[in-house]
Every structure is written in structure tokens, then in C-alpha cells.
């Protein structure tokens, strides 16, 4: 995906510049962009290290595990066909919590394991034939609506680019995030109830 996108961006830019005579600007732009990427990384080093350090405390002190327990009733409601004790449910819960705390590197492995577990424990036999189950669809839509408590990267970018208040977007982003997550869940529940009878697992 990115291979194509990256090549297209460069090709379109350079061809367009050749047609419009902007080549000198492009030449400068290339070098200054590369330099800028490095100074951005320096800002991000600070913010990211701070955040992952805090999250390590949250993990080791049992805070993350506590939150995982707290959302169990919600997960049960969201995935009525999945056993609470099953591997799939454990992985899905870990994935949701990791996403909420902005632990991307912990979220993806758990999410992928959840998908495998969902496939293996599907009783209808459809998943084995390559058809997504209701639980898989709901899980992915949830994952894509991505309820994140604090957009750490965004704060780092904003502070690097001279925002007067880099953290000012936390609450607005949280509200937007809540609304789109609620809409996503409503969508899943509606589709599931329309296909009632097949809404298992």
C-alpha cells in the first residue's frame, strides 16, 4: 500500500513541478523536509518516552489489569455470542484497553490473536470458509472507531509546530471519539439485530 502511495506522491509532485516550473522550490523542499523530520523526532522522543514510561507504571502497578476487569460487562454486552472466559474475549479486551491507553504496539498483537481465536472457536463453520462472523465485524469496527483517551502523538506534533496549547485538543478529541464510537457500536448493534438469528459469535 505505502509503496504505491509513496511513489505516487513523489512522481505526481515532481511531474507537476516540471509542468508548472516550480522545480527550484521542490529542490529546497526536499532537503528541508528531511531536516524537519529529524527535529520532529527529537520532540517526539521526549513525549513518547514520557508516555511509555507512565504506561509501564500503569501496567506494572496493576492499573491496566484493573481497567480490563472493569470493562468486562461492556464487552459481554458487545459480544453476546462469545464466552467471557474464552481466549478470544481476553485478547479482545486487552486490545480495547491497549487502544484506549494509546499502547499501539500492545494493541495490534492482541487484536491479531483475537481474530485467530474468533476464527478457531466459530461454531457455524463459516469463518473456516473465509466469511467474517458478527463478532469479527463488530470487533474491527470498534477497533477502527478507536476510542483513545489521550492522543499522545498529536500532542507532540502540535508542540513541535508551535501550538500555544498543544494539549488543548484532548477534551474535544475525546468528545469526538466518544461520539463516533457510540455511532459505530449503534451501527453494529442495528446490523446484528436486522440479521437476527444469525447474530451468534
Amino acid at each position: 500500500m505505502l509503496n504505491l502511495l509513496w511513489a505516487a506522491m513523489i512522481a505526481i509532485g515532481i511531474i507537476y513541478a516540471a509542468l508548472t516550473g516550480n522545480m527550484a522550490a521542490v529542490s529546497d523542499g526536499i532537503l528541508s523536509s528531511a531536516k524537519e523530520a529529524v527535529s520532529l523526532c527529537i520532540t517526539m522522543l521526549g513525549v513518547m518516552a514520557l508516555w511509555t514510561g507512565l504506561m509501564e507504571i500503569a501496567t506494572k502497578s496493576g492499573l491496566v489489569a484493573g481497567c480490563t476487569k472493569k470493562i468486562a460487562p461492556f464487552m459481554r454486552w458487545l459480544f453476546p455470542g462469545i464466552n467471557v472466559e474464552s481466549d478470544a474475549m481476553q485478547y479482545m479486551t486487552t486490545n480495547v484497553i491497549a487502544n484506549m491507553f494509546g499502547l499501539g504496539w500492545a494493541a495490534t498483537p492482541a487484536g491479531l490473536k483475537a481474530m485467530e481465536a474468533l476464527r478457531n472457536q466459530d461454531e457455524t463453520g463459516l469463518a473456516k470458509k473465509g466469511v467474517a462472523t458478527d463478532a469479527m465485524c463488530t470487533f474491527l469496527v470498534m477497533n477502527i472507531s478507536c476510542l483513545q483517551l489521550i492522543p499522545v502523538n498529536m500532542i507532540a506534533y502540535r508542540s513541535q509546530y508551535g501550538s500555544a496549547n498543544p494539549t488543548g485538543i484532548i477534551v474535544p478529541a475525546l468528545i469526538a471519539n466518544l461520539i463516533n464510537t457510540v455511532i459505530a457500536i449503534a451501527f453494529c448493534k442495528i446490523v446484528c439485530s436486522i440479521r437476527k438469528g444469525r447474530c451468534r459469535g
Binding site: S33, C137, V171
Partner: protein, 174 residues
């Protein structure tokens, strides 16, 4: 927006206070653990640095060639009719495919318009509440060997559209 911004400034200090406090109460060696975790964060940034350099150069080429302005001008009549800034159309579309490419475009928006401008605020909120639909779907379904994805894509698009619309509304209201 002012009230939300003011509330937001409390969040980071409170979160840090809460996490460190919780750690101390549960007898965690908070500082040692913090340092250990911070190393991971540095590794993460170190690993994404090449990606960022590559993509920021590509976006730099697009920007300086004038192509992004050309595209924005082309789309302006359509998007302005519905109250969506045309400068953010490329960003919204790219975000569905690649998070890092979207970051490149976002930083370009920050540079052109400022982080706290109307466009900058919408972009900040929008990118914080949307996900890379196609990338996520492809790796997750590939893992589970699923080819018929049923209503996942419509659901994902509904969630993303809701996020984009809400971002615009929030910035307009507050």
C-alpha cells in the same frame, strides 16, 4: 472551544498524578519502572524516524510543487458547499490508507495554517479520532484468513465519517 481547551490543560498533569499515585499505593518502584518503560518509547521513535523522513519528503515534494494547492482549489467548490475545508480533503482520504502518510500531510497543514487555526484544529481532532481503515482491515482479516468481510467496511466508513463530521461541528460550536 475555549472551555474545552482550558479543561484539556488539566488532563495530562492529572493523569500523571493518578498513575504515579496508583503506582506508589500499589508498592511499585515507580521511578525504576518509568525509566524502563521510557526506553521502549525511545525505541519506538527511533524505529519510526526513517518512515517519517521518507513521508515528509514526499509530502514536501507535493506541497512545494503546488500540487496540493491545485487539488484544494479543484475540490473547494464541492467541499465548501458542505462546510468542510478543502485543504483537509487529501488528509482525510490518505488517513484511510496510511497513518504515517497522513501524519506527513497533517504537519504540512500545521506549517501552512498553524496548529491552532480553524483548519489546524479540525485536523488535530479529526486525526485523533479516526483510524487507518484499509490497513487495519487488511492485516486483521489476513490473519484470520477471511475474504468475505461482510459489513465491516460500511461500519468502518460510518465510524470514520461520524468522526470527521463531529470534528468539524465541535470546532465550529466551541
Amino acid at each position: 472551544m475555549d472551555f474545552l481547551v482550558a479543561t484539556s490543560t488539566y488532563i495530562i498533569p492529572l493523569v500523571i498524578f493518578f498513575i504515579v499515585g496508583y503506582g506508589v499505593l500499589n508498592k511499585t518502584d515507580v521511578y525504576d519502572v518509568f525509566v524502563e518503560g521510557a526506553k521502549d518509547g525511545m525505541k519506538t521513535v527511533w524505529n519510526i524516524a526513517p518512515t517519517l523522513i521518507g513521508l515528509m519528503v514526499a509530502v514536501g515534494v507535493l506541497r512545494t510543487s503546488g500540487f496540493l494547492d491545485f487539488l484544494g482549489g479543484l475540490l473547494a467548490p464541492v467541499t465548501e458547499g458542505i462546510g468542510f475545508p478543502s485543504e483537509l480533503v487529501p488528509l482525510t482520504l490518505v488517513k484511510m490508507f496510511s497513518s504515517s502518510a497522513a501524519t506527513g500531510l497533517l504537519l504540512d497543514v500545521f506549517k501552512e495554517f498553524g496548529t491552532d487555526s480553524y483548519v489546524g484544529l479540525i485536523a488535530s481532532i479529526m486525526l485523533s479520532c479516526t483510524e487507518t481503515i484499509f490497513y487495519t482491515m487488511s492485516i486483521y482479516f489476513l490473519t484470520a484468513k477471511i475474504t468475505k468481510t461482510r459489513w465491516t467496511l460500511p461500519g468502518a466508513l460510518v465510524a470514520t465519517l461520524a468522526g470527521v463530521i463531529t470534528s468539524v461541528i465541535i470546532v465550529n460550536i466551541f
